[in-house]
Symmetry: D2
Subunit: 346 residues, 4 copies
Amino acid sequence: MVKAGIIGSTGYAGQELVRILLNHPDVEIVWYGSKSYIDKRYSEVFGNMFQIVDNVCLGEDINKLAGQADVIFTATPQGLCSSLVNEEILSQVKIIDLSADFRIKDIGKYEKWYGIKHQSPSFIKEAVYGLCEINREDIKNARLIANPGCFPTCTVLSIYPLAKEGLIDMDTVIVDAKSGVSGAGRGAKTANLYCEVNESIKPYGVAVHRHTPEIEDQLSYASGEDVVINFTPHLVPMNRGILATSYAKLKEKLPYNEVKEIYDKYYKDEYFVRVLDENVFPETRWVEGSNFVDVNFKIDGRTGRIIMMGAIDNVVKGAAGQAVQNMNILYGFKENTGLDIVPLFP
Amino acid sequence: MVKAGIIGSTGYAGQELVRILLNHPDVEIVWYGSKSYIDKRYSEVFGNMFQIVDNVCLGEDINKLAGQADVIFTATPQGLCSSLVNEEILSQVKIIDLSADFRIKDIGKYEKWYGIKHQSPSFIKEAVYGLCEINREDIKNARLIANPGCFPTCTVLSIYPLAKEGLIDMDTVIVDAKSGVSGAGRGAKTANLYCEVNESIKPYGVAVHRHTPEIEDQLSYASGEDVVINFTPHLVPMNRGILATSYAKLKEKLPYNEVKEIYDKYYKDEYFVRVLDENVFPETRWVEGSNFVDVNFKIDGRTGRIIMMGAIDNVVKGAAGQAVQNMNILYGFKENTGLDIVPLFP
Amino acid sequence: MVKAGIIGSTGYAGQELVRILLNHPDVEIVWYGSKSYIDKRYSEVFGNMFQIVDNVCLGEDINKLAGQADVIFTATPQGLCSSLVNEEILSQVKIIDLSADFRIKDIGKYEKWYGIKHQSPSFIKEAVYGLCEINREDIKNARLIANPGCFPTCTVLSIYPLAKEGLIDMDTVIVDAKSGVSGAGRGAKTANLYCEVNESIKPYGVAVHRHTPEIEDQLSYASGEDVVINFTPHLVPMNRGILATSYAKLKEKLPYNEVKEIYDKYYKDEYFVRVLDENVFPETRWVEGSNFVDVNFKIDGRTGRIIMMGAIDNVVKGAAGQAVQNMNILYGFKENTGLDIVPLFP
Amino acid sequence: MVKAGIIGSTGYAGQELVRILLNHPDVEIVWYGSKSYIDKRYSEVFGNMFQIVDNVCLGEDINKLAGQADVIFTATPQGLCSSLVNEEILSQVKIIDLSADFRIKDIGKYEKWYGIKHQSPSFIKEAVYGLCEINREDIKNARLIANPGCFPTCTVLSIYPLAKEGLIDMDTVIVDAKSGVSGAGRGAKTANLYCEVNESIKPYGVAVHRHTPEIEDQLSYASGEDVVINFTPHLVPMNRGILATSYAKLKEKLPYNEVKEIYDKYYKDEYFVRVLDENVFPETRWVEGSNFVDVNFKIDGRTGRIIMMGAIDNVVKGAAGQAVQNMNILYGFKENTGLDIVPLFP
């Protein structure tokens, strides 16, 4: 039985970790960490957990926690995990960090886009970027896993096969993404009030969103080129879900079947990546509550572009679910243990 | 391995049966019945099932189905199940009917409220009303189970302890209920279009809703009186969930603790019924996707009334979940097998 | 041209006042008061006002404001208006208070339900309760108008004719109300975040909501009895709208036509109160953005009760619209000046 | 007093025409045409119109209608208007067609994208494309106006200044658009049911949407080039609103101020087009219920692209509002007569 501790268990991603781990046959949650709700019963914060979780919230004392847990999930704002990690901690426990602290290898890039100073740069190199379908082998032996961002997960997986195979012009990649509101977190901000978000769609972080360099890094690794993209996220009035619609020029004309084969080459054995049938496009409702990534593409012969689409549940494959998938890889469990969830509809 | 067939698997309740049964360790779905989608792949109708269910939809030939299944769920409009049931069928399979056909013992009452002629009145007496927490013993040996309606499940369970103990004046019971839109079914009607339902709340079926006699029957059995109530459902712009707010006069003044003890007496060993803490009231979000019934009450000393509240997911405990719970009882499985679902939030 | 000042113009009710007054032919807004956004351009707070309102937000200096305005609207939290009002101010300007400070004549009752000390009790008696359809004559000469609460407006108007005519047993009145989220205000609270409210319905303030005594007072005046009721509000995932479903015993059997005549007697000349056709029930979508109150009733012969239903837009007839209606009465304008708004659908 | 007739008054755009025209001081609606609701009272179809509109729905007899009206709005499916128009009709009345029948000058292109045969090709040349801000002069004397599509209106107005000035590479234009559900019409389709649309976002019509050639035509006229674009619409769970996010390469580096001046050059005197402040981006909530088009842009120096964004209310500026704006131009009314609506929030 793997003992898991969660720092930041009272945010949306943290709560989802709890939901998923409660159904995991090989894991026991030993620490419900929180900054705002210390000593409060967890089920008072989240009524869904009533009579399921009896624990009270503990703080963020990582030393104490490291003595009790085998693996620690940090579902916290940027900067916290990097301030907690050190050799002593990593010698005791595995850490799966859901924040951005260890996702970007170039510390200058990290500090510029996030506007904060990195607290433990010495561990950046060691950290493995936990995009499971791509970095599975490296994840197996990692001590510190940088769990990918929600937009990067969805975007990279929907573009990856074509970038890897060199079939699209990487200078032409444009990503237009749409996210549900849970991605904005549980902090009490006027901008995220029901009446402010409901019945509206808006772009945000135009040309400056922090997930841009993360996507660019991963697409650069895949293509072997230095990729610079346009990335525009939008806020959609729904609880969960990310849809990424990406555009690129095909280097040469390709028929549907050839592109389909390429997607299948990379994903046919991937449990969580579902390449949809021709002309069936991803919709967030079909992945809600699950760890699936639905992807598909459409070739536009008129413009010579290909439109690559992906849908995930941002709280699951975009956060907690992928974190558990990483943990499964770390411990040699079957990769979908606790994650073989049928999406909830409607 | 129990072999299950579903007639009406392409409605919302039918699809939810599939979602739940896919996670049930002791059940195999052998028949995906449908009226509108025969020969179509099930996963084309419901994209969440892509790469999970490979079956195509079959028709509603109950004779053929009875030869292949151990248990049949009918998640169909009123009148269909009663037209299919006969001795030969019941001698081969168990039937769990999610429609109203066998819920009301008085055939005259059924025909009056539903406006249709009952097709197999001889089986009404035999059918067991599958409100599991109350009729568990009778369910065990039933051949034909009338799975309760969504409003009755929520309402009856939140009032039952006080009705049974004779603590409220049954002549004063008023039930004001609120339902998500999935309760209206998947039929293509203008009234259920997104733009018609969104951003609005409305009452419907005022004083004439068909769940009224079903609630009255159950409260009559509980109290030993002939109960007549007011029941007013309202349509709420959300996918899932029912909240029932019920009012009654307390026969005599009672302190909080005594009433709490009575609720606990009936429900403390019930896995699915959660009696909330004092002054914490049911909210549909805390039961979404699960089979839980959250109940609580508030005594209003000023008026001498007690307000009894209950929340369920109408598609789960109000339909498919309770149907599986009934099946679990029928086959002697642990009652929450396949149903120990942590509610999804947000 | 009436000069209007608004204290609290950056809340939802305050902003709606601006929207309505901008279309009022006889009014000019001279003061956009705010606590949180002083010196900020109003159109930066509310993007809908871009290129429509050029003003910057001012503070809450009522002395200065009283020198510039003819009428002041206070759309502020409880307690503020009563702390600002005095004889000097009232000798200069009319005040229409959208808070509860002057709605309840019994100061003890006010202080008990609201939990705050009243700052200017000497003006309580003078203040006129601005439920226009009922107190029109008194409003004409008032200096200080207590604009009614949203739930009381909707509830009282839907019950009033029967209470006034003595046709219902006032001891049996139960009000089950449902409100959109704008009623909770624009403050940054976790409980009102999109993801907390969306896809859920919940009761709140059960048996203790502050609008209870206000409703009771008005029903007492109407019926000539000391009325005590049950009032339960619920939060509905939509921006705007209140639906009140009220129940009472009819003192004697009455046919539909007689009750309809009584409603018509009170409302046939009222522009804003629409008594719907038989078996057509109020829905909040049909009044959105307007000052209408849609009411109707259903007699339930089985229980001897009558169900009285009303729908309003809580931000308009429940707040800003009724405030303007009061202003129109005060200044002898046609009562629907600036308020002849066709409801927005969908 | 202009006499207006509406064919298709019981769809969403038709109903919005009614809402707007009821507030127009110079127009009287003389004909509420409908296919599905003939002889039914209009206010029974749309409860918001109760006690406002007393008319019953009439049919689609354009000859009779042409004898009674000065101007006819056709808010009907593609193909109907072109089947009704002829010289006799046009000699009697002005026609403003909200469908696509006369928007595309190349009949072959129309028939290919719409899959239907054009019924009155001889009038295509005469018809004026009613994008008011661009074709104002031609509209003034038109007999037949092709009211633009919702996506084209939003997209073209947000790109127009840069296309016209030749500052962007037209070969690189990509339009990613998002629409509320009212754009799908009021027909009873499963795909538009509340539970199918709510809590999900999806792309549709990828690379084949019918508004593509309309956008291309207009951008071609503006730029003087033969423009081919990518256009991907998405369905967003909200009633109203369109947001278009468009991407293009700048031909040369430009500072913010220069681009801003170009937008201002075209729009500073346009009442309905609001060029937002720097780094304030369009959100559909700020234009709801109004005829405004909010536009802005962001230069991304990293990629050399410019992101052009626009937001409209699809039912107003994207349909009924622009139709009335066209009518105002036709009759020499002030262009915002009846359209100086403050957007509704929240």
